[in-house]
Amino acid sequence: MQNLGIQVLFQGNNFLRLCGGLWQSLQIAVISMVLSIVLGMILGIVMTSPKKLVRFLCRIYLEIVRIMPQLVLLFLVYFGAAKHLNINLPGSWAAVIVFTFWGAAEMGDLVRSALQSIPVHQYQSGFGLGMTKLQVYRYVIIPQTVRRLLPSVMNLLTRMIKTTSLVVLIGVIEVVKVGKQIIDSSRYTVPDAALWVYGVIFIMYFAICYPFSRAAAMLDKKIKD
């Protein structure tokens, strides 16, 4: 019988292993995202501060995050922490720290621009109707901000999920790593395993990211009209 490449996926528990790897990636992305959203909200409000110095410091943080490739940050935290602080961080922790450091900055900037895009008359109408500051935020500003944020938050999440593929380089066994192991172990029995394994990984990423980016696009359209 001819050796079908696809069989590599069903040998042993290969498929389950791939799913496990994907789960690891997703965990890192989702935990980082939740932390980023919480910290980003706070950062976003801080970024609208009237104090110039505060805004300047936030700006620097954001620029650093944007200039540094995520990979450099990962190495810095993972190897840097081990070497200079003598802390042996598990790779997945290092990944969560780096992704949160990155996500919080991006999220903060999104929250800032969403807050600033609310016209000043929205606040004034609220106050003009006798609402307190808290009521104006609760019933007028925050609902509008959240709507404006949803699409970009989804985009950030998909970017984060995709970027998790980097963590293989600091030793985290995520989906790409598992894929590599499968390919290596079946190098002689199934020569074209790489095609099949990476194909499946591609479909897995797609299946996860596509709904998010569709939802983002739809929300974006809905908000614009």
């Binding site: 016209p119 008359h121 929205q122 004034q124 109408s125 106050f127 003009g128 109707l129 006798g130 609402m131 307190t132 009521q135 019933y139 007028v140 609902p143 509008q144 709507r147 009209d225």
Partner: protein, 250 residues
């Protein structure tokens, strides 16, 4: 017969960021049932003045009193007084994430904690009056500018304000929609609503006002009955100002 004075400002001074004074010395009083129209060249401080009356802006010095009670902006009673002073702005300022009914009910429900069923009835009555009952479940983006401004008026009225401040509420509208909005204001005036109105619609100003204030560079330059002010203004600046409208009309 002397009417009750409900709103007074004494020597009101106001600047933004401690720069030049935008309001230099505004002393003003408003009687119950009176309709005062404020006119003046753009940038002379009309909007700032209205926002100060509603304590949306901090002031540098002077006092604002509501029914003989001096109001401090940063004290709690500023919020209470604000409920009694409704305001409608030039830009369409409905809350875009709420339906028309949602917009109208929000403040009476959350601020005044009134009963919902009763509020809905009142809202529907008012919407019917301005010809927009069929729009109550629509969102602001589905309405024309003129319709939005009528809703904004209804939203302010739902708080049962004692004074209504209108800041160029037709300035951003297409000409054919100006009338439907001003008609509503004229009716309110007829019913005895106390109002301070900033407008560039001189015919409307003439028709609606009991008194006209002409402002220039942060000061009241001339004040008088509309029939006097519009036909024979006393100051040179008022003459010039009214002339600009004359040319526009030709």
């Amino acid at each position: 017969m002397k009417q009750e004075v409900i709103l007074t400002t004494k020597n009101l001074k106001k600047s933004y960021d401690n720069e030049q004074l935008v309001l230099k010395d505004m002393s003003f009083s408003l009687e119950k049932g009176e309709v005062v129209v404020v006119v003046g060249p753009s940038g002379c401080g009309k909007s700032t003045f209205l926002r100060c009356l509603n304590m949306l802006e901090p002031i540098d010095s002077g006092t604002i009193s509501f029914k003989d009670q001096v109001i401090e902006r940063d004290r709690k009673d500023a919020y209470t007084i604000r409920q009694k002073i409704g305001m409608v702005f030039q830009s369409y300022d409905l809350f875009p994430h709420l339906t028309i009914l949602g917009n109208i009910l929000l403040a009476p429900l959350k601020v005044q904690k009134r009963e919902k069923q009763e509020l809905i009835q009142e809202a529907e009555q008012l919407l019917k009056r301005v010809g927009l009952l069929d729009k109550k479940d629509a969102y602001p983006r589905q309405l024309s500018g003129g319709q939005k401004q009528r809703v904004a008026i209804v939203r302010a009225l739902m708080m049962h304000p004692e004074i209504l401040l209108l800041d160029e509420i037709t300035a951003a509208l297409d000409p054919e929609m100006v009338r439907e909005v001003l008609q509503v204001v004229l009716e309110l005036a007829k019913e005895g609503m106390t109002m301070v109105i900033v407008t560039h619609e001189m015919e409307f100003a003439k028709a609606v006002s009991d008194r006209v204030l002409f402002m220039d560079q942060g000061l009241v330059v001339e004040e008088g009955k509309p029939e006097d002010f519009f036909t024979s203004p006393q100051t040179e600046r008022a003459k010039q100002f009214l002339n600009t409208f004359h040319y526009e009309a030709i």
